[in-house]
Structures are given as C-alpha cells and as structure tokens.
Symmetry: C2
Subunit: 729 residues, 2 copies
C-alpha cells in the first residue's frame, strides 16, 4: 500500500518524548496531537506544527471554586438498601453501601420535601409525617410500619467526587490527589464561573487549536460502593443531572412536579431497559434543552477565539444526545469517542450535524497490553478489522489512539501496523467519503427509544459485556457493517403506519424491557399495523422475546407473523408437533455447524406446520421463518456477533422481504468477506474480515461471478462499470 496522503490521525502526546513523537507523527502521518486525562502538552509538543487538541473540563477540576460553592455541587437521587420492619417502627442507616467519599446526603434542602420513604412491599409512598431523619448518625426512623414489609429511603445527595476522576483515581491509586468535585452549572455562580473560566483558559492557551470538551455538565450515572467498587453504572443515566433547582424549573415549565421516585423507580433508576415513563421522557427533553443551550454558549466562546470545539462522547455527555432533537443547536465542530468494534464506531460516525468525527482505537498504549512477551498488534488488527467493516458503511473522519506513545514505540511491529492502518484508513476515506454507499435494504430497529438511542440499544455501560445483552448487541454489531441502511425507530413512529422507506423491522429484546417493548404491545393498533405491513410485503425479524406481552392466549403478540410463541405453562396441555428441521434453507445456506443463538429463551415453539424450523436447541426453536402474506416473520433466539451470524442476518433480511432471488447480486460468498459498493465513485471494496488469507466468489450487480483471493485483512478495491453493474478488480 503506497502512502498517498497523510493526516486524519491524532497522536496522544507524552512529555519528554519529543524526538520519538516527531518520528511517530511522520511514520503514522499524524496531523494532530492531544493531551489526556492526567497528561498535558508542553510548549515543545505544541510547537511541532501539527494541530493541538487540549482537553477541557467544564464542571470539574476546579476545587477552588467547588469547595467555596458546595451548595452548587452536583446532585443525585439514590435509594437506600431494603430494610424489613420487624415491628411497627423501623430505624436504619440510610447511607450504608454508598461510598461516602463520593456522595453525601443533602441537608441543605428539606428532606421532607425532597426525600421519600417507600413501602416496597405495597409499593406505597409513606407519608412524611411517619418518618424522621437523624442527621447526626444518618439514620431514618419510620413509624407505623407494617411488620415484615420492606422499606427504602429515597435520598437527595450531593456528589462530591466526579465519577470519572474517581474511577481513574481509585484504579490508578492516586493516593491523596484531591478529589475533583463536580459543580452544577444550573447554579448561577457556577454558570457564570464556567464561562469566565473558559475565556481565561482560552486566553492562557493560545497554542491550542481544538478544545476537547470532556465533556460538558452531567456525568452518566455512576456511583461506587463502600468498598470503592462500582455499585451502579448506566451510561445513559440522567440521575446525576438533578437538583431542586432543576426540578423547580421543570415544575414551572411543565406544570407538574417530579419526585425522587421518578428517578429511582424502585432501584431501576430509569435504566434504558425500563420502558420510559412520560415523566422521564419530559425530564430528558427538559435537560437536553438546558444542556445543549449551555453547551452552545461555551462552543460560541471557543469559536470567538477561532478555535474548534470537539466533544468526547462519554463521561459528562448526559443531555447532549447526539441523536436527539437539540444536539444540532450546540454547534460543536466534532465528536470523538472510543471504538470497540463496528457498533461503537457507528455510534460515533453516524452522528449528524458535526463537521467531523474521530474514533479512538484499541488497544490503549497502556502496560496491560504493551508488556514484554505480548503482541499488541493482535488486538490492534482485531479491533481494526471489526470496526473497518462499519467504516465502509459510514466513515469516521479521523482516527486516533490513546495512552503512552513511549510504550507503543517499544513495539516496532505495532508501530508499523498503525502506519499501515492509517494509510488504509486514509485510502478508504479518499475513496468513499461523502459518496453514496449502495444499500440493499433499509432495516429499522424497533423499540421504545427509537432514534434517540441510535446504536445505543441494549447497552448498559458502553461496550462492556453483560450476559443479558450480548445475544442482542450482536444484531447491532452485525448490522454496523452490513450493506443495508439502518434506522432506529420507536413505537410512536408507527402511529401513522410504517414509514414507506422501511423494508425490514427488527424487534429484539427480553420480555417487558424497552427493547422488546413491554406494555407498548398492549396497543392493538400497533399489532395490526405491523401484521398488515408484513402481510403486504414487509419483513419482520423478531429476536429473543419480540412483541412479548401476554394477551389472547399468546405471549408474542406477533406470534401469528413469526409462527413462533413461547410457552408460559398455560398451554402445556396443547400438543406441540412441529419439530422437523428444514435442513436445506436459504437462510442457513452458509451455516457450517449449529446456529449460535447466545442465551437460551426457554420454551419457544412453532405454532403450526407452515413454520420453517431452521435450528433448535433443548427442544426450543432457535431460528425459524414463516411466510405471512407477501412478507415473512423470522424468529431468532439471539444473535451474538460472528461472521456466520452476520450472514444469517443478511440472508434473513432478504428472506423476510421474500427477495431471496436478489441475494446473489453485489455479494461475496465467503462469510469472512464483505463487498461494499460505491456507485457514485464507481468503486467497490472487498473486505477480508479476518487476519488470514481468504478466497471468495464475488457476484456483481448482474449476477456474474469472479473468484477472488484476499490476503489477510486485505481490502481489495475494484472498479464498477458505467452502468453500475459489473466489477473489475
């Protein structure tokens, strides 16, 4: 691969490493350097002639201000442990289990107004006259309790340690380094201060070209326990954005009051898995408007100084919502985020209303990977080829790395790998940026959140693995690089029918969650809309417990479409006869062995003999297809990410539309390869998604085949003829 162009790469900087930094800048074609959480750029680094990114913390890292304005510290509603009354009175310590270094009760505001006691056995709120708080020993005493009912206290707290700094501090054992106290820019003094401070900082940092906001105001909900370990993490949680100030402003605007329980929900804390309440959606809208408006003010200041503003997607990102209605208003120039694979890549690269996006690739140059005897290139290649297939669909503008370059520098092979990757990335971008990408279908992911949580469904803590989600996240990871358009839609979006541009709808998730839909499926209009749409030719792919809502003798509301339901025990007396596997089928044509479905959803079964059963496990249907009018319903128990499952999904998309005859156009037969077509630039790209050599047969748009050999991890570019049909490599 020839080094045609340079740029599009950001290097993490390190002090006292200047010559090697110059070497890396040159070898990797980097055009920017950046500092990190814990490292700064010195003059020598800033004078290297490339673009300088400087991190900037808006609402933390200024304890001088914070300590003198503790009434404007950030706040958080938390719920105490459950306590069982043994008699008619109950006293317990309510801060047990929380990290007192991070959160302390707010006694500045009247607990009787902002705190709540719940009887969790009945679900009833306990009247304030029945409880009292002892501020000295941090106990609550509840009177007139019902023996052997469980009670909890909802507590308004101050957050006196920024969660990200806390995480870094504890993880890296920073000892007596001060805890950064986050302040709430809804506080009038904090609000003024953040602007003054930014201006002063900009004055002091003339060499900074790009201000990297990390991020704005409110951290996603993250609190630790009394053993200094994580107690709760929700990457989407708005819990740390609350305050009496915010809730009073909300009440003034919306005409009704929000209470602690609106945020706590018996300990679910409005996880994205909980179908959102109207109150919570109102609060999200309210907070987004505030955050984006305030962020815009900061960005405007940055622009005044002729610098660019970029935001990190993470940490204090709450309320910015890149896929929300108000993000555009911020006027931010770019977004940067961490790339763990295709899905997290798309989460960044699809963000609208920015000039550019930057993805930070793995591995971080940290000692856990860069140690003698380990080969960091292996993780680097894996991360790159996993993300690359998604880049082919929706490119990032820039890439970058994190950590200590001095560590990476000790691994010459890795340095070479990054050089090649950077070149490859630049070649991709030069070929496809801002050019139309050919899509073979438009797929919509249907859940309670829709567009707001684009590429964010099923996530708990960004890219972290959970047993309960990997069977679903695989769907998004597969889609991130598939040759289809992807849209995230909510049940509300179907109020007037299915939008005409959608070919296939996927509903995936565990029963009752926001991703399956829960009570949304009560609505018979929704049910009828989808049935009619499939009947008329739409494709419906249900994964896990799709449309689950027990009614009318069935658990899956679209059981008739899927031909599959889940036995809850009530119809065990009805004989189930349909177990014959269809061995040879369009969907499973490339399946080598058994279908890998992830976690078991027990007791799925076929309703009738028309169901094409494609895979079973433990007597359960794990993969099936069912014709419903001109469309089809496809059932999958789960779809953990793999090349094989990506192909299963791709074929299911075509089969669900009853367009399997069109599958062998612009496709590559080897499941470890993928073909991308760019009609506008008259190019095609054939990806080898493995680090081994592959051979494949490529079908062009007319159905002609070509045998192709691919080197490990290779992209082979080809030319598309004038009629956008035949391919020449």
């Amino acid at each position: 691969m020839s080094k045609k162009i340079s740029g599009r790469l950001t290097l993490p900087a390190e002090l006292n490493f200047i010559d090697e930094t110059k070497d890396l800048l040159s070898r990797w074609g980097a055009d920017a350097i950046r500092d990190s959480d814990g490292t700064d750029l010195d003059d020598e680094l800033m004078d290297l002639g490339v673009t300088n990114y400087s991190k900037y913390f808006v609402a933390r890292g200024d304890n001088e201000f914070a300590l003198s304005h503790m009434d404007e510290a950030q706040q958080l509603f938390v719920m105490s442990d459950y306590h069982t009354a043994k008699g008619t009175s109950l006293t317990f310590e309510f801060m047990t289990g929380f990290l007192d270094e991070q959160i302390v009760p707010d006694f500045n505001h009247d607990p009787k107004e902002w705190w709540q006691v719940y009887n969790r056995t009945t679900g009833e709120l306990v009247d304030v006259s029945n409880w009292s708080i002892n501020k000295e020993d941090l106990t609550v005493t509840i009177e007139n309790t019902t023996p052997f009912h469980e009670y909890t206290l909802n507590i308004l707290t101050y957050m006196i340690w920024d969660p990200t700094q806390m995480y870094n501090h504890i993880t890296n054992d920073w000892g007596d380094k001060p805890h950064e106290i986050p302040f709430d820019v809804r506080g009038p003094k904090a609000n003024q201060h953040m602007k003054d401070k930014l201006r002063a900082w900009l004055e002091d940092n003339p060499k900074t070209d790009v201000v990297r906001f990390t991020t704005f105001y409110y951290h996603f909900t993250l609190f630790f326990n009394d053993k200094r370990k994580e107690k709760f993490v929700d990457w989407f949680g708005y819990g740390s954005s609350v305050s009496p100030r915010a809730l009073e402003a909300f009440e003034k605007e919306y005409g009704y009051k929000l209470y602690a329980e609106d945020f706590i929900h018996a300990g679910s804390y409005n996880s994205t898995f909980k179908p959102p309440t109207k109150e919570y959606l109102d609060y999200l809208d309210f907070t987004q408007r505030f955050v984006t408006q305030e962020a815009k003010e900061l960005v405007d200041i940055v622009h005044e100084y002729n610098k660019e503003a970029i935001m990190f997607l993470g940490d204090n990102w709450i309320g910015t919502e890149p896929y929300g209605k108000y993000f555009e208003n911020i006027g931010i120039d770019a977004v940067v985020g961490s790339v763990g694979g295709g899905l997290t890549m798309r989460l960044i690269s699809d963000i609208p209303h920015v000039k550019y996006t930057e993805g930070r690739f793995l591995p971080y140059f940290f000692p856990d990977t860069f140690y003698e005897g380990n080969d960091p290139t292996i993780e680097g290649v894996e991360n790159w080829i996993t993300a690359r297939r998604a880049i082919m669909r929706s490119p990032l503008t820039r890439i970058g790395y994190g950590g200590y370059p001095s560590l990476a520098y000790k691994f010459p092979e890795f340095v070479d790998f990054v050089s090649e990757t950077a070149d490859e990335f630049r070649e991709i971008i030069s070929n496809i940026e801002h050019k139309e990408t050919y899509s073979r279908a438009k797929v919509a992911i249907l859940n309670s959140w829709g567009k707001l949580r684009t590429w964010q469904a099923f996530m708990v803590a960004h890219a972290l693995h959970y047993k309960q989600i990997y069977s679903y996240l695989g769907v998004l990871e597969s889609l991130s690089g598939l040759d289809v358009d992807v849209e995230f839609i909510s049940f509300d979006d179907l109020k007037d029918g299915v939008p005409s541009d959608i070919d296939v709808i996927i509903n995936a998730g565990d029963a009752h969650t926001a991703f399956s839909g829960g009570d949304a499926w009560h609505d018979e209009k929704l049910v009828a809309t989808l049935r009619k749409w499939v009947y008329e030719g739409g494709g419906f792919i249900g994964i896990g417990e799709p449309s689950a809502y027990e009614k009318g003798g069935r658990f899956f509301r679209l059981a008739d479409v899927l031909g599959i339901d889940k036995e809850l025990g009530f119809t065990l007396s009805t004989d189930k006869y349909f177990f014959d596997l269809k061995e040879d089928h369009f969907i499973t044509q490339d399946l080598k062995d058994t279908f890998t479905f992830g976690e078991q959803i027990n007791n799925t079964y076929a309703l009738n003999e028309d169901v094409e059963i494609l895979a079973m496990d433990n007597e359960n249907i794990t993969l099936s297809a069912h014709t419903y009018g001109k469309g089809r319903g496809i059932y999958m128990m789960g779809l953990p990410y793999s090349h094989e499952n990506t192909r299963i999904l791709s074929r299911s998309i075509f089969y669900s539309m009853q367009k399997e005859a069109e599958f062998n156009k612009f496709t590559s037969t080897n499941i470890h390869t993928e073909l991308n077509v760019y009609p506008e630039s008259k190019k095609v790209a054939l990806l080898n998604n493995t680090n081994e050599a592959q051979t494949t047969v490529v079908y062009d748009g007319a159905g002609n085949t070509t045998d192709v050999q691919l080197k490990p991890a290779e992209i082979k570019w080809g030319e598309l003829d004038e009629e956008n049909s035949t391919i020449r490599f």
Copy 2:
C-alpha cells in the same frame, strides 16, 4: 425371604390360560383376579376361589342407549384455530383441526346462546349480532372485523367418542369396532338408565365380588386432531363435564352464568397451571357435588348386592377428586391406580376415606416389554424400588399388574421377581400398616390449588414427561419417600397465618403459574405472613421462580428471605458481586459433582454477601441458602429426581429450619439408601434404593453409628429399642 403370608395381590386374568393362572395365583400369592379393558372373565376364571374384580363402565360402552339419546351425549367446549381478519369481514371453517369422529358441533342448542366469538387481539367478546354460523359447511362469518385482528370461535360440541376407548381403538387399530359414545348422566334418561343398567348387570354377574368402576361420568379433557393424534390432554380438565343442562343448573344455584370462555380461557382451557378463577373454582365445587352424589347412588346399589365398589383413578374420574371435600360421600370401598414411581404411588396410597388402595405396577404384560431378548425384570425392579420408598411412608393395601399373564409366564425370572416382590410387599405391610411412621419434619407444598391437588402439582397428563415440569416433579418424587410428612396447602390456607404444625414450606414453579402462585403474590399480607414465619424459625424452600410477581423493584416477592432474585433487565446497571461458591456446606455435603438443577431459569443472582451460594451455572445461582432470623430461605433452580437431589432436599429441609445439628439421627449416610423408623411397631427398615450392593453407616436416634451392608434392592429390617432410640439389625 420366607413366604409368610399370601394375598394383597390382584392378577390380570386371561381366557384359555387356566392352569398357568392357577400356578401364578399360587406362586404370587394372589387373592384376586380382574378383567381388563377388552378382556372378560369367564366362569372358569371366576370359579378359581379368589376374589373376582369386574370392570364396569357407567357412561360409555352402551351405544344402543347412546345412539337413541344423542341429545344426552357428553359435551365439550372447544376453541377454533386463530384466524386473522384481512378486511372487515372474516369467514372460516371452525372445526378444522378437530377429529370429527370424536367431536361434532352442537346445533341442538342455539349457538348464539352458547357459542362465542372473541377478538383475541383486543381480548374483547364480539357481539352475537356480528356473526353467524353456517351449519352446512361449518363456517362462521364475522362482520365488522378490525383488519389484522385475530378471531376465534368458542364452540359447544358433542363428544361422540369416549376418549379412552378412542385412544385404545386408534392405538390398537381396532378397525370398524364401534366407537363408544359417552352419555351425560345429567340427562334424565341417561341418569335413570345408568342405575337400571347397573342393577341389571349386578343381577347378571353374581360371581363378581368387586365392581371396578372405570370410572364414573366425566373423562379428563382429551381430544384428538384431524390426524387422529392427541391435540389436547389435561388429566385434571373438567372440560368434558359441561352441558347447557349443567350450566343452567349452575346459574340457578350460583346466581350467575358461566360462558364458554370460562372454560376456554383463550386456549388454556383452565389448565392447572393457570391460577384458577373464582368462576372455575365454583364450577369445580358444583361438579364435584354432582359427581360424588351420583356416584354414591351407584356405590349404594353395589353395596345392596353385597359387593364391593372400587374406582380406577383415571379416565372418567373427573369430579370425584379423592382429595376434595366431597369424595368421602361416595362411600367407595377402594381406589386403584397406576404406579409410575413414588409420586404416583402416594397419589393413590394417601387417598383418605377408603378401606383400601391398590397400585398397579409396571411393566404391563404387553409385547412392547415382554419380547424375546428383553429382560422385563429390569423395568420391574426399577419401578418397584422407586415406588417402594414411598410405600414405606404411606403403604398401599394391595398391588397388582396389568396386561396378559401368558406373556409374563414366558419369563421365569420375571415370575420369580413378582413372587419376591409380592412377599416383600406383604412383609412391609405386616410390619407397618396402620402403624405410626416417624417423620422428621412436616413439609407443605404451597400453591394455588393446595389440598385438592395433593401429589398432583405440576402434572399435565398423569406421569408423562414434559420438559417444563420435570424440574419440579422431582421435588414431589423426592418427597414421596422422604422421612417427612407432606401436605399440600393453598395460599388461602395461610389467611390466618401458617398452620402451627408446618416446619417447612416449599413454593416451586414457573412464574405466573398456579404452582408459583402468580397474582396471589400481589397480596402483601401473604408476603408478610411468610416473612414473619421464616423469621421466627420456619424453613422456606423456593424452587424455580418462587413467589414471582414483579413489585417494588424485585421479581421474587420473597427475595429478601431467599437472598436471591431474578434479573429481568431493569437492574442490570446495579453491579452484582456475589459469585463465591461455598465449597463445604451442610446441604451439599453428599453432592459428588455439580448440582443437577434441570431446566435453566436464567439470570438468578444473590442479593448480598450473606447468601451462601452452593452451586452456579452460566453465572446463575442454582442452589443457595440464606439465613433470615431463626429460619432460612433456600433457593433451588429445579430439582429433577435423583437420589442425590433427594438428599439435597432432605438436607435443605433441616438447614431451612436451622436444625442441621439434628440431621444425623435416624438416618443413613449413603444417598442410595434410606432409613424408615416405625416407633409403634419398634421396627426400622433400611432400604437399598438401587439394584446394586451398598454399604452405609446408619445413625440411630441417639446418634450412634452402625456400618451396614445391603444386597441389591434389599430391605433390611431392624429392631428399635424400648426408648425408640437405638437400632439393632
């Protein structure tokens, strides 16, 4: 083993087999012979000098009557298939999928009064003005349908083929043998006829000593599909007991009307897995009173003729309910039923208000087992030792076999085996019948049904295996031979607190079923009652999804007692830290390898570090214990039957009561052995529950140990001293 006594054994008779029958009577010590479905006793057999049992069908097997009184044929409500309206009108054939040889629509009664159309998408009843029946082509036409809603028709049918005869007929390919039409003794003519016919039969059969009713009036719900295969089977179903006559009588008595849907429930047909409605419970009570009253009249007639009356537990047993309130009224002398193991043995032997009980053992003398090259003794021994441990707790009065003795006679080893078994049985009975059996605890199974379904929880079709039930049936099978008293209680039985004689409560089952309890757990009084009871020293064992009812942030209402809950997805953001297995624990002391829990209940987890995690699988807790006051909560994912799991349960019972220190009294250490103690008869019996030699250590009541060797399948009897403490073998 010396042949001390004879008797207590019923031999199936066979024509033209008289000498061998005499031989078997002598060798097996049989004191009775019986005919079968399809075979009769001739004079020669009846003159053998033993007790003669003759089968008797009350409401079938008399087509001369039935055909001339088709308006008194038995009836059944069935639900059509689901049909999706594509427009505003829908027509479908409503008898599709049913076996027209078995059921035909009832056009004698107005469909508009007795049938119902349901919109299953909304759950709403469709007004009768919107539909019409075409009797010619058996279609229903529904007008004003909502497009893409699903509709079903509830149909009142006549049952024109007795389900048992149908099963035998189809299975044995009886060709043009007439189909026996069951008649409904609520019909005035049928009612008179059954009595007249019984008297006439008694007159004609003077040599019969015991009339075996097979059974009375109504068959459990069993209907076949159009391919002559089983479509629906519920051994507890009252579906075939309905008729306009019955429902009108019900309305008159109860003041409200029952509708088809009260029996159909969107296709669940009031399976015992569905928590019973008030309406259905009323109907059960109503039908039991009718059946027991009518059965009493027949039994009285039998008694008039100085014969005994015995009933078969199965077939047309509906409404007799041996564990119900009215069974005693029948005055039946005995019950006979099929024994598949300990659980089904106890189902018979525990029946109150009868003079004796008889169990029919496996294998049946049929060619599927008695063929050259097969050893039927293997199944015989297995069946015997599985049932025997339950007999030691609650003895049958008699045993018997079924099938063709001429087949068994060809297997001398099997003939010897039965001789020995019969002797062993008689020895057991002579030692323990009507004698107090020592119990180490009283265990209650808690569900929606309670006493009525004693030993009948989790069953679908008597002893048949279903994937969804074996993890729970194992609990009952284990208990059937354990040295504890067992009682089945309902949630209503706890209205005034837990009865004082109960030591341990088991709640087992899938979420929302009648066995877990479903909506019963909404009741906070129930929840508090159980918590208090455990706190004060009760033992609670939750299996599967015990107390499952989502409320207050938890799924298991007794999560605080168990220390275990099931993650539904809403609290994924809360870190779960408790995974440390407790290797050495009282409960798992005899566990060789991993705990076998049966079907997976996904995402169970420990709430806190106080939970003793004893076994895990796929990150789920499968076995755990949690101290709650003076009692404990034990969680098990499931408990398929095995000797190992029986021991796990036994130890869990003691551990849950916090009485583990008392475990090693009157017990045998080897899990394949069990010790039974009979203080009244000053005897103990040590069972070898395997067909291999075993060694064990027996603890007496004072905690002294004795090493004991046991031959394959041996019972070793020992003597208990005067103070009921030490044991001498």
